[in-house]
């Protein structure tokens, strides 16, 4: 008896419990609205239970089956964040901006038995399915044909609601979120019920969500399950305001007229918002959480004048979204704007539920807290992925030395806040999307005229960065730019396609033959 024994005092941690509670406590409160329709928590819960009933009874989903989604930020996407795990399945949220063969790869690798997809992406998905062997997953359409009995809405009407089941083991798999694949093929990042539950409680604490909050869905839900706001907003009985596309007019309408209190976005989106509504000012302070790139002082100043209180976050798909926050110290309140901007641009510290971030050298020793010595950011803890789905080699490599290797280079400041110096070495971030330069280089290199290729990001007012390429040609070959563009567009999503391809006699290289991307980056800037 000296050691308590689990049992009645041990409920499995799962974000499914948040919906169960809010459906009861906040039954009559607004849960979801999409600009056209609106549902209370009781109604939302009923839809989720019907979706789970459909998955189990009509699709015959087996425990542990993977169900993919190809959906923008609409109600169905939120509902499936509960219905799929609540029916015993594993959610695989697909990025809506990939190319056909990327979908084919992910659907095959995950072994998804079904895809719930928007009719707006019908052509892309059907092309992808043609690339797959075997019968392929079953498709359930959400969209224009809502009246049809075979649509998602039709199934919801027809299906009997079932109770959502938390897994007996809180470490059970909840979702697989595929990375954009910085080193070749996308990797499937696993999230557990326990990790998602704890990360969500961290979001509640850091964002200060309550049942009076209204969260605007500017961040895609397919991005790390919307940084766990899919679950955290529900946990507090707050309102989800869905926004299927980034439309600055609708964003401002939500901010100025619909009582939005919180949103997350890439700095690019924030810039677009501010560009499109000069002089607008929210009636009450709105908390804005940004990630992907540090906010510039100019952006912070413009945001403040619009009553947007910006906090910088940092994380990866492998960390359930942001596991670090640039936590504001009230001792900084009196500093001047320049100094505040410098402090706010840092990636910060682990959240209330995160283990401390470390910045280490190649021998896994902590670098000094001097704000100068660069090392790699490594992480561990409950909101770090347990690994890559069906990829033990990649998992072992990522966790070498007992911590997850972010691939990000940073310094540790004397106050314990980290600041990135080189984001994932080479990755290009365009419009909030990570672009693996290696993936683009591989596509370029597939062209018969091209010998070598290197891709870097060029600063861009609208997208933050855009990819540009430097190539050398095979002997005797010439490059037809128009033909190359067509070649690339057939292989890559539009946002990954280089905006410029410059031909060089040779690429700058180190003595050991590695391409010096920093040289190209400077050239691209010039």
């Amino acid at each position: 008896m000296d050691r308590p024994s689990p049992g009645v005092s041990d409920a499995p941690l799962s974000p499914l419990s948040f919906l169960a509670r809010s459906a009861d406590v906040w039954a009559d409160r607004p849960a979801v609205e999409d600009g056209v329709r609106a549902w209370t928590y009781a109604e939302h819960h009923d839809r989720v239970r019907r979706a789970a009933g459909f998955l189990r009874e009509e699709l015959g989903m087996e425990p542990g089956a993977r169900v993919a989604t190809l959906l923008p930020n609409e109600a169905a996407m939120l509902e499936l964040h509960y219905a799929v795990p609540g029916a015993g399945g594993v959610l695989v949220p697909l990025n809506t901006r990939l190319a056909g063969d990327e979908y084919a790869y992910i659907l095959t690798h995950s072994g998804a038995s079904a895809v719930v997809a928007s009719t707006a992406l019908r052509e892309t998905l059907e092309t992808a399915l043609e690339h797959m062997d075997g019968p392929g997953p079953r498709i359930v359409w959400v969209g224009d044909d809502d009246a049809s009995a075979q649509s998602y809405e039709g199934w919801l009407r027809a299906s009997a609601p079932v109770d959502l089941q938390r897994p007996a083991d809180e470490r059970a798999l909840l979702s697989i979120n595929y990375t954009s694949g910085t080193t070749g093929r996308p990797k499937g990042v696993m999230a557990s019920h326990r990790g998602a539950y704890l990360h969500s409680l961290g979001v509640v604490a850091e964002a200060g969500l309550t049942t009076r909050s209204a969260y605007l869905w500017t961040l895609p839900m397919f991005h790390c399950n919307g940084w766990a706001y899919t679950w955290a907003v529900t946990a507090t009985g707050a309102l989800h305001v869905c926004l299927p596309q980034i439309d600055t007019g609708r964003i401002w309408e939500a901010l100025l007229e619909r009582g939005v209190t919180h949103l997350c976005a890439a700095p690019t989106v924030l810039t677009m918002m501010l560009d499109d509504a000069a002089g607008a000012c929210c009636p009450a302070p709105v908390k804005v959480f940004i990630g992907g790139a540090p906010p510039t002082p100019a952006l912070l100043e413009r945001a403040a004048s619009a009553n947007l209180d910006v906090t910088h976050l940092y994380g990866l798909t492998e960390t359930y979204g942001p596991l670090a926050v640039c936590a504001w110290n009230p001792g900084w309140d009196e500093l001047d704007a320049t100094e505040q901007g410098r402090l706010r641009a840092r990636q910060g510290v682990g959240t209330i539920v995160s283990e401390a971030l470390r910045v280490v050298d190649a021998q896994m020793r902590d670098v000094p807290r001097d704000g100068e010595t660069v090392g790699e950011v490594v992480m561990r803890g409950n909101n770090v992925t347990p690994g890559y789905y069906r990829d033990e080699a990649a998992t072992a490599q990522a966790f070498a030395g007992g911590e997850f290797h972010s691939g990000d280079l940073a310094v540790m400041h004397p106050d314990g806040y980290i600041e990135l110096r080189d984001r994932l070495k080479d990755v290009v971030i365009s419009g909030g999307e990570n672009i693996s330069t290696i993936e683009v280089e591989q596509a370029l290199s597939a062209h018969p005229a091209i010998s070598e290729a290197a891709v870097v990001g060029r600063p861009d007012d609208r997208w933050g960065e855009v990819p540009v390429a430097y190539v050398t040609l095979r002997a005797g070959q010439a490059l037809d730019q128009a033909e190359l563009q067509g070649f690339m567009r057939a292989r890559l999503a539009g946002f990954k396609t280089p905006k410029e391809v410059a031909v060089l006699d040779q690429l700058p290289k180190t003595s050991t033959g590695k391409i010096q991307k920093f040289v190209l980056r400077e050239r691209a800037r010039g």
Copy 2:
């Protein structure tokens, strides 16, 4: 690989991680003040680490050893909430208002190897030790002789700081909190690191704590570890304002001049506060959490006029303090004060980290949600104790049927909120009818002359029992018994109306402010 395997992504849940984080992130922020001294989080952490060093090195504390405290709400008490578990021990917080032989029993039963005690309680403790066999625990004194090398402060100065260790197993025992033992010997309620961690995150979410918060220690820390505010306040880097005694002058000073934002108390304490400062009004809204008895409409009204925003909580030592909250639905904002008061007096719903409360009949079937059918409140989940220390029989009895039996009788309202009707053992049965003493007490408290009321059953030849009441009066008020009878008959059925209403100077109370009904019951019999 389909099931994530624990490892690097699995950190044991423990409130010790909160101090580690805040000592780093909020190092320069105020952590603790006691009216005389003040410490930052870095300083507080250093003291805790020295206390842990003292426990390990000087006391030779073994892993799992029990260390008791006999301390009011002072810095040492807070420090030991981290130092004891951080050194691998188990905290046993003793109520400072027990009698000598109760201490002897608890120290013997828990097998405490040491007691850290206030010199103000020297005589009581030394008497208790005389009742014990064997060498007894080692005593470390906190208090007047702080200058001495053998005092707590002396040891802190002399000891080398050690790192706090989280247990490898999050279900390890963290503390044993002895009940006040209204039915026989005190029972040792076990708390685990996991339970305390999750309960603390629930407190953060429900109370809305941030690093700008200042928490006033009106509730004793020995009471369920201060309802986990010992950990939750630290988790957010907020300030602990220690208050060794309930002193309404110091409470108002803290509220009006020291920026206190949150406090917890029994309704009795809140009544004392309001009695002692007519017309005082906090400069900003202060969140007040009360438990132990429902707030009366009159108390809520007086609190609101002082800018105190009262929330009613419900729980037991067996549930880490309050696991239920009378969560305020914004839909109630527009109701009139009477209706709001009625809703606020309910015990409410499980918190964000709690499992749903149930109200069941003798066969463990849920009673209907009709606000009328009375059943027993039963609980389960991570913030329910895993059992009583070294008392398997009591544990088995309390968890009969697979849920923890609270011994509280309640109804379930249609909206899922519970409302207590009585303690199982306090209910008055008159002529075969159950009378909720709480209902009668609320009716009495609505009378303008009455400050507090307690109702008990008196044996009666004809009816079995009849209700009789003991009341205290508001300052300057007198009671007209005939007028009161009319007042009551307008509000209650005849069989519920007290057959006698006796005016007392004060009601008998436990050290934690609960009315001692067994004393009144004996008085009624006499």
